[in-house]
Amino acid sequence: MNVSKTLLQCGDALDRLLPMHLWIGVDAKVVRAGPTLAKMVGRGDLRGQPAFGLITIRHPAPVAGVAALCALSGQRLGLVLTDSPDMPLRAVAVALPDAAGVILDLSLGLSFARAVAAFGLTLRDFSPCDQTIELLYLHEANSATTTLSQHLTARLQHARLEAQTQAMTDPLTGLANRRAMDAEISRALADHAHDFALLQIDLDLFKRVNDSLGHAAGDAVLERVAQVLRQHLRLGDMAARVGGDEFLVLIYDCSDDTELGRIATRLIAACEVPISYRGQLCRISASIGIATVAHSTQRPDLEGLIADADAALYAAKRAGRGRYALHGGTTVVECSAVPMMRGRRANDPPQGGFRRRQDDRVPRPD
Protein backbone atom coordinates (compact mmCIF):
# COMPACT_ATOMS: atom_id res chain seq x y z
CA MET A 1 0.00 0.00 0.00
CA ASN A 2 1.32 3.41 -0.91
CA VAL A 3 0.54 5.75 1.96
CA SER A 4 1.37 8.86 -0.01
CA LYS A 5 -0.98 7.98 -2.80
CA THR A 6 -3.85 7.09 -0.47
CA LEU A 7 -3.40 10.27 1.56
CA LEU A 8 -3.28 12.42 -1.53
CA GLN A 9 -6.56 10.90 -2.65
CA CYS A 10 -8.00 11.94 0.71
CA GLY A 11 -6.59 15.46 0.40
CA ASP A 12 -9.99 17.16 0.71
CA ALA A 13 -10.70 15.26 3.90
CA LEU A 14 -7.31 16.28 5.24
CA ASP A 15 -8.01 19.92 4.40
CA ARG A 16 -11.35 19.86 6.15
CA LEU A 17 -10.23 17.99 9.26
CA LEU A 18 -6.90 19.76 9.62
CA PRO A 19 -7.13 23.09 7.79
CA MET A 20 -3.77 24.13 9.26
CA HIS A 21 -1.73 21.04 8.39
CA LEU A 22 1.60 20.93 6.64
CA TRP A 23 2.62 17.66 5.02
CA ILE A 24 6.37 17.58 4.54
CA GLY A 25 7.98 14.95 2.30
CA VAL A 26 11.27 13.23 3.10
CA ASP A 27 12.94 15.73 0.77
CA ALA A 28 11.82 18.50 3.19
CA LYS A 29 9.53 19.97 0.54
CA VAL A 30 5.83 20.66 1.08
CA VAL A 31 3.62 17.86 -0.26
CA ARG A 32 0.34 19.49 0.77
CA ALA A 33 -0.78 22.37 2.99
CA GLY A 34 -4.17 23.02 4.58
CA PRO A 35 -6.05 26.03 3.16
CA THR A 36 -5.97 28.03 6.39
CA LEU A 37 -2.24 27.54 6.81
CA ALA A 38 -1.67 28.50 3.15
CA LYS A 39 -3.66 31.69 3.78
CA MET A 40 -1.57 32.50 6.86
CA VAL A 41 1.75 31.87 5.11
CA GLY A 42 0.64 33.98 2.14
CA ARG A 43 3.13 32.58 -0.36
CA GLY A 44 0.62 31.19 -2.82
CA ASP A 45 0.58 27.46 -3.58
CA LEU A 46 2.98 25.96 -1.06
CA ARG A 47 3.43 22.60 -2.78
CA GLY A 48 7.08 21.98 -3.62
CA GLN A 49 8.38 24.86 -1.50
CA PRO A 50 11.08 24.08 1.10
CA ALA A 51 9.09 23.50 4.31
CA PHE A 52 11.75 24.70 6.73
CA GLY A 53 11.87 28.01 4.93
CA LEU A 54 8.20 28.56 5.76
CA ILE A 55 8.24 27.60 9.42
CA THR A 56 10.79 27.96 12.18
CA ILE A 57 10.55 25.37 14.94
CA ARG A 58 11.80 26.72 18.29
CA HIS A 59 10.66 24.30 20.97
CA PRO A 60 11.60 21.93 22.40
CA ALA A 61 14.66 22.63 20.22
CA PRO A 62 15.34 24.19 16.82
CA VAL A 63 14.62 21.58 14.15
CA ALA A 64 15.33 21.97 10.46
CA GLY A 65 15.23 18.46 9.07
CA VAL A 66 12.59 15.79 8.46
CA ALA A 67 14.35 13.07 10.46
CA ALA A 68 14.78 15.35 13.47
CA LEU A 69 11.13 16.39 13.21
CA CYS A 70 10.02 12.76 13.04
CA ALA A 71 11.94 12.12 16.22
CA LEU A 72 9.68 14.64 17.97
CA SER A 73 6.51 12.80 16.87
CA GLY A 74 3.63 13.31 19.28
CA GLN A 75 5.28 16.08 21.25
CA ARG A 76 3.99 19.59 21.60
CA LEU A 77 6.06 21.87 19.41
CA GLY A 78 6.46 25.63 19.57
CA LEU A 79 7.03 27.34 16.23
CA VAL A 80 6.46 30.47 14.19
CA LEU A 81 5.85 31.18 10.54
CA THR A 82 9.14 32.50 9.21
CA ASP A 83 7.33 35.58 7.86
CA SER A 84 5.50 36.22 11.18
CA PRO A 85 8.16 35.68 13.86
CA ASP A 86 6.12 37.49 16.57
CA MET A 87 3.14 35.15 16.46
CA PRO A 88 3.91 32.02 18.49
CA LEU A 89 2.03 28.95 17.24
CA ARG A 90 1.92 25.41 18.44
CA ALA A 91 1.92 22.13 16.56
CA VAL A 92 2.18 18.39 16.74
CA ALA A 93 4.12 16.24 14.23
CA VAL A 94 3.23 12.70 13.20
CA ALA A 95 5.69 10.68 11.14
CA LEU A 96 4.09 8.74 8.29
CA PRO A 97 5.05 5.16 7.38
CA ASP A 98 6.59 4.11 4.05
CA ALA A 99 8.86 7.16 3.86
CA ALA A 100 5.81 9.30 3.20
CA GLY A 101 7.27 12.09 5.34
CA VAL A 102 5.67 13.83 8.28
CA ILE A 103 2.40 15.70 8.88
CA LEU A 104 2.55 18.75 11.09
CA ASP A 105 -0.77 20.07 12.45
CA LEU A 106 -0.65 23.67 13.65
CA SER A 107 -2.89 25.66 15.95
CA LEU A 108 -2.97 29.30 16.97
CA GLY A 109 -2.23 28.66 20.63
CA LEU A 110 -2.60 31.58 23.01
CA SER A 111 -1.92 34.19 20.37
CA PHE A 112 -5.24 33.27 18.73
CA ALA A 113 -6.83 36.69 19.10
CA ARG A 114 -3.92 38.54 17.49
CA ALA A 115 -3.40 35.82 14.93
CA VAL A 116 -7.02 35.84 13.72
CA ALA A 117 -6.81 39.60 13.15
CA ALA A 118 -3.32 39.57 11.65
CA PHE A 119 -4.06 36.75 9.19
CA GLY A 120 -7.63 37.92 8.45
CA LEU A 121 -9.13 34.54 9.33
CA THR A 122 -12.87 33.93 9.15
CA LEU A 123 -15.30 31.41 10.62
CA ARG A 124 -14.85 29.28 7.51
CA ASP A 125 -11.11 28.97 8.11
CA PHE A 126 -11.70 26.83 11.17
CA SER A 127 -13.05 23.32 11.51
CA PRO A 128 -16.49 23.42 13.15
CA CYS A 129 -14.91 21.28 15.87
CA ASP A 130 -12.19 23.81 16.58
CA GLN A 131 -12.87 25.68 19.82
CA THR A 132 -10.80 28.67 18.72
CA ILE A 133 -14.00 30.46 17.67
CA GLU A 134 -15.47 29.94 21.13
CA LEU A 135 -12.24 31.21 22.65
CA LEU A 136 -12.48 34.31 20.49
CA TYR A 137 -16.10 34.78 21.46
CA LEU A 138 -15.22 34.44 25.14
CA HIS A 139 -12.23 36.71 24.79
CA GLU A 140 -14.39 39.43 23.28
CA ALA A 141 -17.34 38.90 25.62
CA ASN A 142 -15.05 39.03 28.64
CA SER A 143 -13.54 42.31 27.52
CA ALA A 144 -17.05 43.74 27.16
CA THR A 145 -18.26 42.54 30.54
CA THR A 146 -15.05 43.58 32.28
CA THR A 147 -15.62 47.08 30.97
CA LEU A 148 -19.16 46.98 32.32
CA SER A 149 -17.92 45.76 35.69
CA GLN A 150 -15.35 48.51 35.81
CA HIS A 151 -18.06 51.07 35.07
CA LEU A 152 -20.20 49.66 37.83
CA THR A 153 -17.31 49.69 40.30
CA ALA A 154 -16.53 53.29 39.40
CA ARG A 155 -20.16 54.30 39.88
CA LEU A 156 -20.39 52.48 43.20
CA GLN A 157 -17.17 54.08 44.38
CA HIS A 158 -18.54 57.49 43.44
CA ALA A 159 -21.80 56.77 45.24
CA ARG A 160 -19.91 55.60 48.32
CA LEU A 161 -17.89 58.81 48.48
CA GLU A 162 -21.07 60.80 47.97
CA ALA A 163 -22.78 58.88 50.74
CA GLN A 164 -19.84 59.41 53.04
CA THR A 165 -19.94 63.15 52.64
CA GLN A 166 -23.68 63.13 53.10
CA ALA A 167 -23.52 60.86 56.13
CA MET A 168 -25.02 62.22 59.31
CA THR A 169 -23.33 59.86 61.73
CA ASP A 170 -19.94 59.81 63.39
CA PRO A 171 -18.61 56.36 62.50
CA LEU A 172 -16.73 55.79 65.77
CA THR A 173 -19.40 56.63 68.32
CA GLY A 174 -22.59 56.32 66.30
CA LEU A 175 -23.60 59.78 67.51
CA ALA A 176 -24.67 62.44 65.04
CA ASN A 177 -21.86 64.32 63.31
CA ARG A 178 -21.31 68.06 62.86
CA ARG A 179 -23.41 68.17 59.70
CA ALA A 180 -26.39 66.50 61.38
CA MET A 181 -26.07 68.69 64.48
CA ASP A 182 -25.89 71.89 62.46
CA ALA A 183 -29.06 70.87 60.65
CA GLU A 184 -30.81 70.07 63.93
CA ILE A 185 -29.76 73.38 65.52
CA SER A 186 -31.00 75.27 62.47
CA ARG A 187 -34.35 73.48 62.76
CA ALA A 188 -34.52 74.26 66.47
CA LEU A 189 -33.69 77.93 65.89
CA ALA A 190 -36.47 78.20 63.31
CA ASP A 191 -39.02 76.66 65.65
CA HIS A 192 -40.00 79.56 67.92
CA ALA A 193 -42.48 77.45 69.88
CA HIS A 194 -39.70 75.71 71.80
CA ASP A 195 -36.77 76.95 73.80
CA PHE A 196 -33.65 74.85 74.01
CA ALA A 197 -30.07 74.73 75.25
CA LEU A 198 -26.85 73.90 73.50
CA LEU A 199 -24.06 72.29 75.53
CA GLN A 200 -20.58 72.28 74.17
CA ILE A 201 -18.52 69.59 75.83
CA ASP A 202 -14.77 69.25 75.68
CA LEU A 203 -13.02 66.35 77.36
CA ASP A 204 -10.29 67.13 79.87
CA LEU A 205 -7.10 65.06 79.98
CA PHE A 206 -8.17 63.17 76.86
CA LYS A 207 -4.89 63.94 75.16
CA ARG A 208 -3.06 62.37 78.09
CA VAL A 209 -5.01 59.11 77.67
CA ASN A 210 -4.36 59.11 73.97
CA ASP A 211 -0.64 59.84 74.38
CA SER A 212 0.05 57.43 77.23
CA LEU A 213 -2.26 54.52 76.39
CA GLY A 214 -2.66 54.87 72.67
CA HIS A 215 -5.39 55.73 70.19
CA ALA A 216 -7.36 52.56 70.85
CA ALA A 217 -7.71 53.61 74.50
CA GLY A 218 -8.71 57.07 73.34
CA ASP A 219 -11.35 55.54 71.09
CA ALA A 220 -12.68 53.47 73.99
CA VAL A 221 -13.00 56.67 76.03
CA LEU A 222 -14.87 58.42 73.22
CA GLU A 223 -17.27 55.51 72.87
CA ARG A 224 -17.84 55.51 76.61
CA VAL A 225 -18.60 59.25 76.58
CA ALA A 226 -21.05 58.71 73.73
CA GLN A 227 -22.75 56.06 75.85
CA VAL A 228 -22.94 58.49 78.79
CA LEU A 229 -24.54 61.14 76.59
CA ARG A 230 -27.09 58.69 75.23
CA GLN A 231 -27.99 57.55 78.73
CA HIS A 232 -28.52 61.07 80.04
CA LEU A 233 -30.54 62.48 77.18
CA ARG A 234 -34.26 62.29 76.61
CA LEU A 235 -35.75 61.04 73.39
CA GLY A 236 -35.79 64.01 71.04
CA ASP A 237 -32.62 65.57 72.41
CA MET A 238 -29.52 65.14 70.33
CA ALA A 239 -25.83 64.50 70.94
CA ALA A 240 -23.12 64.83 68.32
CA ARG A 241 -19.39 64.30 68.17
CA VAL A 242 -18.12 67.34 66.32
CA GLY A 243 -14.35 67.05 66.69
CA GLY A 244 -11.66 64.81 68.18
CA ASP A 245 -12.86 65.09 71.78
CA GLU A 246 -15.60 67.67 71.33
CA PHE A 247 -19.28 67.01 71.62
CA LEU A 248 -22.41 69.08 71.22
CA VAL A 249 -25.64 68.33 73.02
CA LEU A 250 -28.98 69.89 72.18
CA ILE A 251 -31.60 69.78 74.91
CA TYR A 252 -35.13 70.82 74.02
CA ASP A 253 -37.63 72.68 76.21
CA CYS A 254 -35.07 73.62 78.79
CA SER A 255 -33.58 77.07 79.34
CA ASP A 256 -33.56 77.09 83.11
CA ASP A 257 -30.04 77.71 84.42
CA THR A 258 -30.48 75.59 87.52
CA GLU A 259 -31.84 72.62 85.62
CA LEU A 260 -29.11 72.90 83.00
CA GLY A 261 -26.54 73.11 85.76
CA ARG A 262 -27.84 69.86 87.20
CA ILE A 263 -27.62 68.18 83.81
CA ALA A 264 -24.05 69.44 83.25
CA THR A 265 -23.02 68.28 86.72
CA ARG A 266 -24.41 64.81 86.09
CA LEU A 267 -22.66 64.59 82.72
CA ILE A 268 -19.30 65.64 84.18
CA ALA A 269 -19.65 63.15 87.03
CA ALA A 270 -20.50 60.35 84.60
CA CYS A 271 -17.51 61.20 82.40
CA GLU A 272 -15.23 61.07 85.42
CA VAL A 273 -16.05 57.45 86.19
CA PRO A 274 -12.74 55.73 85.33
CA ILE A 275 -12.85 53.56 82.24
CA SER A 276 -10.99 50.26 82.24
CA TYR A 277 -9.15 49.60 79.03
CA ARG A 278 -7.04 46.42 78.85
CA GLY A 279 -6.27 46.49 82.52
CA GLN A 280 -5.46 50.22 82.54
CA LEU A 281 -7.73 52.83 84.04
CA CYS A 282 -8.40 55.84 81.87
CA ARG A 283 -9.40 58.92 83.81
CA ILE A 284 -10.82 61.95 82.12
CA SER A 285 -13.18 64.75 82.96
CA ALA A 286 -15.24 67.16 80.91
CA SER A 287 -15.74 70.91 80.64
CA ILE A 288 -19.06 72.23 79.43
CA GLY A 289 -20.17 75.55 78.00
CA ILE A 290 -23.89 76.19 77.85
CA ALA A 291 -25.87 78.59 75.69
CA THR A 292 -29.63 78.85 75.90
CA VAL A 293 -32.25 80.03 73.47
CA ALA A 294 -35.50 81.10 75.09
CA HIS A 295 -38.63 81.56 72.97
CA SER A 296 -39.20 85.20 73.70
CA THR A 297 -35.72 86.45 72.94
CA GLN A 298 -34.22 87.59 69.71
CA ARG A 299 -32.64 84.39 68.45
CA PRO A 300 -29.02 84.20 67.34
CA ASP A 301 -28.09 82.43 64.14
CA LEU A 302 -26.41 79.03 64.06
CA GLU A 303 -22.88 80.37 64.15
CA GLY A 304 -23.72 82.91 66.83
CA LEU A 305 -25.24 80.25 69.06
CA ILE A 306 -22.29 77.90 68.68
CA ALA A 307 -19.93 80.81 69.39
CA ASP A 308 -21.89 81.54 72.59
CA ALA A 309 -21.59 77.94 73.78
CA ASP A 310 -17.94 77.96 72.81
CA ALA A 311 -17.25 81.15 74.75
CA ALA A 312 -18.87 79.64 77.84
CA LEU A 313 -16.78 76.50 77.38
CA TYR A 314 -13.66 78.60 77.13
CA ALA A 315 -14.54 80.27 80.40
CA ALA A 316 -15.09 76.91 82.08
CA LYS A 317 -11.77 75.61 80.76
CA ARG A 318 -9.88 78.71 81.89
CA ALA A 319 -11.11 78.18 85.41
CA GLY A 320 -9.83 74.60 85.56
CA ARG A 321 -11.11 71.15 84.67
CA GLY A 322 -14.46 69.51 85.32
CA ARG A 323 -16.46 72.72 85.29
CA TYR A 324 -19.36 74.18 83.43
CA ALA A 325 -20.22 77.78 82.61
CA LEU A 326 -23.37 79.38 81.26
CA HIS A 327 -23.04 81.90 78.51
CA GLY A 328 -24.02 85.32 79.81
CA GLY A 329 -23.44 84.23 83.42
CA THR A 330 -20.61 85.46 85.59
CA THR A 331 -19.63 82.30 87.40
CA VAL A 332 -17.98 79.07 86.54
CA VAL A 333 -19.31 76.19 88.56
CA GLU A 334 -16.86 73.60 89.72
CA CYS A 335 -18.42 70.19 89.90
CA SER A 336 -15.62 67.71 89.58
CA ALA A 337 -15.75 65.04 92.27
CA VAL A 338 -12.14 64.11 91.69
CA PRO A 339 -9.57 66.22 93.57
CA MET A 340 -6.89 65.87 90.88
CA MET A 341 -9.27 67.34 88.37
CA ARG A 342 -9.81 70.50 90.32
CA GLY A 343 -6.30 71.84 90.61
CA ARG A 344 -5.29 74.49 88.18
CA ARG A 345 -2.31 73.70 86.11
CA ALA A 346 0.79 75.83 86.45
CA ASN A 347 0.53 77.23 82.98
CA ASP A 348 -3.25 77.69 83.05
CA PRO A 349 -4.27 81.25 82.41
CA PRO A 350 -5.28 83.28 85.46
CA GLN A 351 -8.83 82.89 86.68
CA GLY A 352 -11.12 85.82 86.46
CA GLY A 353 -14.08 87.35 84.75
CA PHE A 354 -14.58 86.31 81.21
CA ARG A 355 -15.96 87.92 78.15
CA ARG A 356 -17.33 86.23 75.15
CA ARG A 357 -14.97 86.37 72.21
CA GLN A 358 -15.82 85.21 68.73
CA ASP A 359 -12.34 83.88 68.15
CA ASP A 360 -12.21 81.96 71.40
CA ARG A 361 -12.53 78.66 69.62
CA VAL A 362 -8.94 78.10 68.67
CA PRO A 363 -6.59 78.86 71.56
CA ARG A 364 -8.26 76.71 74.15
CA PRO A 365 -6.42 75.01 77.03
CA ASP A 366 -6.57 71.21 76.93
Binding site: A113, R114, A115, V116, A117, A118, F119, G120, L121, T122, L123, R124, I133, E134, L136, Y137, L138, E140, A141, N142, A144, T145, L148, S149, H151, L152, R155
Partner: protein, 196 residues
Protein backbone atom coordinates in the same frame (compact mmCIF):
# COMPACT_ATOMS: atom_id res chain seq x y z
CA UNK B 1 -33.82 38.92 35.21
CA UNK B 2 -30.22 39.86 34.64
CA UNK B 3 -29.46 43.57 34.70
CA UNK B 4 -27.98 43.24 31.20
CA UNK B 5 -31.47 42.67 29.79
CA UNK B 6 -33.08 45.40 31.87
CA UNK B 7 -30.33 47.87 31.16
CA UNK B 8 -30.63 47.12 27.44
CA UNK B 9 -34.36 47.90 27.57
CA UNK B 10 -33.58 51.17 29.32
CA UNK B 11 -30.94 51.94 26.68
CA UNK B 12 -33.42 51.17 23.90
CA UNK B 13 -36.05 53.53 25.37
CA UNK B 14 -33.67 56.39 26.14
CA UNK B 15 -31.75 56.34 22.85
CA UNK B 16 -34.86 55.82 20.71
CA UNK B 17 -37.46 57.90 22.54
CA UNK B 18 -35.54 60.06 25.02
CA UNK B 19 -35.11 60.38 28.78
CA UNK B 20 -38.64 61.66 29.37
CA UNK B 21 -40.17 58.46 28.01
CA UNK B 22 -37.88 56.35 30.14
CA UNK B 23 -38.77 58.45 33.20
CA UNK B 24 -42.48 57.83 32.55
CA UNK B 25 -41.95 54.10 31.95
CA UNK B 26 -39.96 53.90 35.14
CA UNK B 27 -42.72 55.69 37.04
CA UNK B 28 -45.51 53.54 35.63
CA UNK B 29 -43.52 50.36 36.25
CA UNK B 30 -42.96 51.49 39.84
CA UNK B 31 -39.17 51.14 39.76
CA UNK B 32 -37.62 52.27 43.05
CA UNK B 33 -34.49 53.65 41.32
CA UNK B 34 -33.50 55.73 38.30
CA UNK B 35 -31.26 53.32 36.39
CA UNK B 36 -30.78 49.59 35.98
CA UNK B 37 -27.26 48.35 36.55
CA UNK B 38 -26.04 45.95 33.85
CA UNK B 39 -24.10 43.81 36.31
CA UNK B 40 -26.83 43.30 38.93
CA UNK B 41 -29.93 41.12 38.90
CA UNK B 42 -33.55 42.21 39.34
CA UNK B 43 -36.86 40.42 40.00
CA UNK B 44 -38.54 39.16 36.79
CA UNK B 45 -41.67 41.12 37.71
CA UNK B 46 -39.75 44.38 37.22
CA UNK B 47 -38.84 43.41 33.67
CA UNK B 48 -42.43 42.42 32.89
CA UNK B 49 -43.67 45.69 34.39
CA UNK B 50 -41.21 47.68 32.25
CA UNK B 51 -42.31 45.88 29.05
CA UNK B 52 -45.95 46.64 29.88
CA UNK B 53 -45.27 50.25 30.83
CA UNK B 54 -43.22 50.84 27.67
CA UNK B 55 -46.08 49.63 25.45
CA UNK B 56 -48.53 51.81 27.38
CA UNK B 57 -46.38 54.94 27.32
CA UNK B 58 -45.55 54.58 23.62
CA UNK B 59 -49.15 53.71 22.73
CA UNK B 60 -48.04 50.65 20.75
CA UNK B 61 -48.88 47.04 21.20
CA UNK B 62 -46.61 44.90 23.31
CA UNK B 63 -45.20 42.81 20.44
CA UNK B 64 -44.35 45.85 18.31
CA UNK B 65 -42.38 47.51 21.08
CA UNK B 66 -40.49 44.30 21.84
CA UNK B 67 -39.76 43.64 18.17
CA UNK B 68 -38.31 47.17 17.89
CA UNK B 69 -36.27 46.39 20.99
CA UNK B 70 -34.95 43.23 19.32
CA UNK B 71 -33.99 45.12 16.17
CA UNK B 72 -32.28 47.79 18.24
CA UNK B 73 -30.25 45.16 20.13
CA UNK B 74 -28.61 44.06 16.89
CA UNK B 75 -28.39 47.33 14.97
CA UNK B 76 -27.60 50.12 17.44
CA UNK B 77 -23.96 51.06 17.19
CA UNK B 78 -23.66 51.19 20.99
CA UNK B 79 -24.34 47.49 21.01
CA UNK B 80 -21.90 46.45 18.28
CA UNK B 81 -20.49 43.85 20.74
CA UNK B 82 -23.88 42.09 20.78
CA UNK B 83 -24.00 41.86 17.00
CA UNK B 84 -20.44 40.59 16.94
CA UNK B 85 -21.08 37.98 19.60
CA UNK B 86 -24.12 36.77 17.65
CA UNK B 87 -22.11 36.61 14.43
CA UNK B 88 -19.65 34.25 16.12
CA UNK B 89 -22.44 31.65 16.03
CA UNK B 90 -22.17 30.84 12.35
CA UNK B 91 -20.75 31.77 8.98
CA UNK B 92 -24.21 31.80 7.30
CA UNK B 93 -27.64 32.86 8.53
CA UNK B 94 -28.66 29.23 8.16
CA UNK B 95 -25.86 28.18 10.59
CA UNK B 96 -26.76 31.08 12.83
CA UNK B 97 -30.36 29.83 13.16
CA UNK B 98 -29.18 26.36 14.12
CA UNK B 99 -26.74 27.81 16.62
CA UNK B 100 -29.58 29.62 18.42
CA UNK B 101 -29.92 26.43 20.47
CA UNK B 102 -26.54 27.33 21.97
CA UNK B 103 -27.62 30.89 22.78
CA UNK B 104 -28.45 30.33 26.47
CA UNK B 105 -25.22 28.36 26.96
CA UNK B 106 -23.21 31.02 25.15
CA UNK B 107 -24.68 33.63 27.49
CA UNK B 108 -23.82 31.57 30.56
CA UNK B 109 -20.22 31.19 29.35
CA UNK B 110 -19.84 34.93 29.78
CA UNK B 111 -22.19 35.65 32.69
CA UNK B 112 -23.13 32.54 34.67
CA UNK B 113 -26.48 33.98 35.78
CA UNK B 114 -27.46 35.53 32.45
CA UNK B 115 -30.80 33.88 31.69
CA UNK B 116 -31.24 34.17 27.93
CA UNK B 117 -34.19 32.31 26.36
CA UNK B 118 -33.86 28.55 25.97
CA UNK B 119 -34.33 28.00 22.25
CA UNK B 120 -35.06 24.90 20.20
CA UNK B 121 -34.77 24.97 16.42
CA UNK B 122 -36.48 22.56 14.03
CA UNK B 123 -35.64 22.70 10.34
CA UNK B 124 -38.44 21.78 7.92
CA UNK B 125 -38.46 21.49 4.14
CA UNK B 126 -37.31 24.18 1.74
CA UNK B 127 -35.74 26.63 4.12
CA UNK B 128 -38.48 26.57 6.73
CA UNK B 129 -37.56 26.78 10.41
CA UNK B 130 -39.70 26.59 13.54
CA UNK B 131 -38.10 28.20 16.57
CA UNK B 132 -39.47 27.84 20.10
CA UNK B 133 -38.25 30.03 22.96
CA UNK B 134 -38.81 29.55 26.69
CA UNK B 135 -38.14 32.48 28.99
CA UNK B 136 -39.37 33.46 32.46
CA UNK B 137 -40.74 36.74 31.09
CA UNK B 138 -43.40 36.94 28.31
CA UNK B 139 -42.06 38.58 25.16
CA UNK B 140 -39.12 36.38 24.11
CA UNK B 141 -40.81 35.61 20.77
CA UNK B 142 -41.28 39.25 19.80
CA UNK B 143 -37.77 40.29 20.88
CA UNK B 144 -36.25 37.35 19.04
CA UNK B 145 -38.31 38.20 15.95
CA UNK B 146 -36.72 41.67 15.91
CA UNK B 147 -33.24 40.19 16.43
CA UNK B 148 -33.69 37.61 13.64
CA UNK B 149 -35.01 40.17 11.14
CA UNK B 150 -32.01 42.39 11.87
CA UNK B 151 -29.56 39.48 11.77
CA UNK B 152 -30.95 38.30 8.41
CA UNK B 153 -30.12 41.79 7.08
CA UNK B 154 -26.71 41.56 8.71
CA UNK B 155 -25.97 38.31 6.87
CA UNK B 156 -27.50 39.69 3.67
CA UNK B 157 -30.12 36.92 3.66
CA UNK B 158 -33.70 37.40 2.45
CA UNK B 159 -35.96 35.76 5.00
CA UNK B 160 -39.49 35.99 6.35
CA UNK B 161 -39.74 35.92 10.16
CA UNK B 162 -43.14 35.83 11.88
CA UNK B 163 -44.75 34.89 15.16
CA UNK B 164 -46.34 31.44 15.11
CA UNK B 165 -48.80 29.63 17.31
CA UNK B 166 -46.99 28.43 20.43
CA UNK B 167 -46.92 24.70 21.16
CA UNK B 168 -47.74 25.29 24.83
CA UNK B 169 -48.18 28.03 27.42
CA UNK B 170 -44.54 27.98 28.47
CA UNK B 171 -43.03 28.78 25.09
CA UNK B 172 -43.32 31.28 22.26
CA UNK B 173 -42.92 30.31 18.61
CA UNK B 174 -41.35 31.92 15.56
CA UNK B 175 -41.58 30.74 11.98
CA UNK B 176 -38.77 31.53 9.59
CA UNK B 177 -38.71 31.07 5.84
CA UNK B 178 -35.38 31.54 4.06
CA UNK B 179 -35.57 32.71 0.44
CA UNK B 180 -32.17 33.85 -0.73
CA UNK B 181 -29.00 33.34 1.25
CA UNK B 182 -27.08 35.92 -0.76
CA UNK B 183 -29.75 38.57 -1.28
CA UNK B 184 -27.37 41.43 -0.37
CA UNK B 185 -23.75 41.61 0.67
CA UNK B 186 -24.74 42.07 4.31
CA UNK B 187 -22.51 43.72 6.85
CA UNK B 188 -18.85 42.90 7.33
CA UNK B 189 -17.82 40.65 10.14
CA UNK B 190 -14.19 39.98 10.90
CA UNK B 191 -13.27 37.54 13.60
CA UNK B 192 -10.29 39.55 14.67
CA UNK B 193 -11.69 42.84 15.84
CA UNK B 194 -9.83 45.83 14.50
CA UNK B 195 -9.59 48.15 17.46
CA UNK B 196 -9.50 51.85 16.91
Amino acid sequence: MHGMVNRALQGFLTTTYGDAVWAEVRRQAGLPFDDFEAMLSYPDAMTTACFGAAAHVLGKDHATVLEDFGIWLVTDHHLEPVRRLLRFSGARFHDFLHALEDLAERGRLVLPNLDLPRITVAQGDEGRFVIDAVWPVPGAGAILMGCLRAMADDYGTLAFVGLGRAADDASERLEVQLFDAAFTKGRRFELGQVRA
